[in-house]
């Protein structure tokens, strides 16, 4: 939004909407160095419970500290409005959520006084994807609400854990025990096309074979076909007798490769020496799977060097000389072929090569179909109280959630209905906000000014505390607005419909510029 005095047509008009700030340390650590980029960005949320109770005070003191830091670093009378929903549930009226929501309503500074190192704002800017707020505010749709802490949780103050592994193609739930031995890949008939990385389908040469006989004959060869680029595995000579458990059939071919057999022979040769000295080492040598991650290789290396050094001192001449069974020849054939390439099609692309990390061949004829990687489902926990916020279903092919504590279902959603444009300096203009209550109980909202600023700073809230009616599914199908239920107290609200309430704010800009 641009206040007048700015040249017209400068920025594309973006629909403004409301962002929220979380209390967690990630946002707060950047808040203390606020300043330039956001024209005196508002304070971090500092919600004290209005009629404070003992349970809320612990949170409150942290927030007050954050607020004090902000005051010291800034010198401008920025006055964002803050709201604190204190939803009064039927069960408890002692605990109050002290989540603070910051609404854009701050004034642009004159020449802003405090400069700050640019990289810190960049960090905060990009952490939430919201470029207009250095504190990294997030829309309500990405926030969670922890029931036991009564706090908002942003995506940075939750921790993830793995629930299950599933194949994205056949939607098969891989049992967690076998995931590691299968190298996190699907162990059924799922492959990636080596050329275009689409999924391959298993087809038979004679599609009518099963019509005429009860069992498919042995002559009915099965092969893999890519539906996107029409690559088929007959080009590389891979055919199958049965259409089931193809990965097992391919794995047998894999193990016959010369380099895999060479590794097995090396392992056998050195195993007898290491087994005699250290007991911890053979666990790395004995596992056939290739090394997994930094930690195992570093431990392996350190243990190898330690045993080798011990060998040097003790049994240096005990290791027999190892003659490799396969002679690796210096072949220039690859080089010559690469130098004689005419068109780019004769060699593989980086993406094709990196799909098959073991071989990484340069020629497209030697690319093999790769097994499909498994995907995971994650659950999210609150970092402080370790309760689960979001837990998806255990089955791979269902996308529901067993537990889904998202903020949209708990807190009122704030949207901007209308803004009186253009905003002229020194004149009051009206902004209308709508609060929508998603819960089945009534919610009471009280608004506060940021930093305890007064209405003289340019923002006037006409209805500082109001209530929102509960959500009722029946009303969703009614057309038109519904009058307030009888018995509700009439406060000075702008409009009240089924489960939402609109209030009006009067904003008087002090200086021309951008309003956030």
């Amino acid at each position: 939004m641009l206040a007048l005095n700015a040249p017209p047509g400068q920025d594309p008009v973006r629909q403004p909407f409301v962002h929220y700030r979380c209390h967690c340390n990630h946002a707060n650590s950047h808040s203390s160095k606020s300043g330039n980029a956001s024209e005196g960005a508002g304070t971090t949320p500092s919600a004290e419970p209005g009629t404070g109770t003992g349970t809320g005070s612990g949170q409150g003191s942290d927030n007050r500290d954050a607020m004090n830091i902000d005051d010291a670093s800034k010198s401008q009378p920025a006055s964002p409005t803050q709201e604190q929903p204190s939803s009064q549930t039927e069960t408890s009226d002692t605990t109050r959520p002290s989540s603070a929501l910051v609404l854009a309503g701050q004034q642009p500074g004159e020449a802003s006084s405090s400069f700050q190192p640019q990289n810190e704002t960049d960090k905060a800017l990009y952490s939430s994807g919201n470029h207009s707020d250095t504190h990294g505010s997030i829309p309500l749709s990405r926030l969670y609400f922890c029931d036991s802490c009564d706090e908002l949780r942003c995506p940075k103050c939750v921790q993830d854990e793995i629930v299950c592994y599933y194949c994205p193609h056949c939607l098969f739930d891989a049992p967690t025990a076998s995931v590691k031995t299968e190298k996190h890949k699907c162990s059924r008939n799922c492959f990636y096309c080596p050329l275009c990385q689409a999924t391959l389908s298993v087809v038979s040469e004679d599609p009518d074979a099963t019509l005429y006989q009860s069992n498919p004959t042995d002559n009915a060869q099965y092969y893999l076909l890519c539906n996107m680029c029409l690559w088929n595995s007959q080009d590389i000579g891979v055919t199958f007798d049965k259409p089931l458990s193809l990965t097992a059939q391919l794995q047998k071919d894999d193990e016959a490769l010369p380099d895999v057999r060479e590794f097995a022979r090396l392992k056998d040769h050195f195993e007898k020496y290491f087994r005699s000295t250290k007991s911890s080492l053979p666990s790395y040598l004995a596992s056939p799977s290739y090394s997994t991650g930094y930690s195992s290789t570093s431990r392996y290396l350190s243990s190898v060097t330690s045993t080798l050094s011990s060998h040097r001192t003790q049994q240096a001449d005990d290791i027999a000389h190892y003659t490799p069974a396969v002679q690796v020849m210096e072949s220039t054939e690859n080089l010559e072929k690469l130098m004689s390439i005419v068109s780019i099609k004769e060699t593989t692309t980086m993406k094709q090569r990196l799909m098959a990390l073991q071989s990484q061949s340069y020629s497209p004829q030697r690319l093999q179909p790769q097994r499909i990687h498994l995907r995971i489902k994650k659950l999210r926990r609150c970092r402080s109280c370790r309760h689960i916020l979001v837990k998806p279903d255990q089955k791979g092919n269902s996308f529901g959630f067993k537990i889904n504590l998202i903020a949209l279902n708990q807190l009122p959603n704030i949207t901007i209905v209308s803004i009186q444009r253009p905003m002229i300096v020194q004149t009051a203009s009206q902004v209308i906000l709508r609060f929508t209550n998603p819960r089945h109980e009534e919610a009471h909202v009280s608004l506060q000014y940021g930093d305890g600023a007064s209405p003289s700073h340019g923002v006037a809230i006409r209805s500082p505390s109001f209530s929102i009616s509960p959500f009722n599914e029946v009303w969703e199908y009614e057309v038109g607005t519904i009058a307030a239920p009888p018995g509700a107290t009439m406060e000075d609200v702008y409009e009240r419909t089924a489960n939402s309430t609109c209030i009006a704010l009067d904003i008087t800009p002090a200086v021309a510029g951008e309003v956030k």
């Binding site: 076909l225 996107m228 680029c229 029409l230 088929n232």
Partner: protein, 144 residues
């Protein structure tokens, strides 16, 4: 208002709400689904046998020469054919485009939302696939 000449062979199917303009000859067994467009603006269009032109497909001939469409082609939903020549047993998948002046051979597959370039000659059995319109010549069978 151009004078329209429409020749429909036996066993062909032309629907009432087809948008047809110009000289069009429809071969045997060819089916023009409802809501498709066949515009023979510059020159006439001659269909072979057994073609399938699905809904919202557009076949437009602006050039002065006749557009000969071969046999057993499939023009899937939303595809656009503005080329100059097309052979037999091709498939233009959903929302694909053959740009003007292009010659398409036999048994080609233009993938979904893929398009050719203008004034291009596609050899037989060309597959155009992927977001970047990559192509290759395929061997073996297609399970059609």
């Amino acid at each position: 208002m151009t004078r329209q000449k429409l020749t429909i062979s036996s066993r062909a199917l032309v629907c009432q709400d087809n948008d047809l303009r110009g000289d069009i000859t429809v071969g045997t067994g060819t089916v023009l689904h409802p809501q498709c467009k066949v515009w023979a603006l510059g020159g006439s269009i001659i269909f072979g046998s057994g073609n399938i032109v699905e809904e919202n497909a557009e076949i437009i001939n602006r050039g002065p020469e006749t557009l000969f469409i071969g046999d057993n082609n499939v023009f899937e939903v939303g595809s656009k054919m503005e080329g100059a020549k097309i052979g037999s047993r091709n498939t233009l998948e959903v929302r694909s485009q053959v740009k003007s002046g292009t010659w398409v051979g036999d048994e080609c597959v233009i993938g979904a939302v893929c398009s050719t370039n203008e004034n291009e000659i596609l050899s037989d059995r060309t597959v155009i696939y992927g977001a970047k319109n990559e192509r290759r010549i395929f061997t073996g069978n297609r399970t059609v």
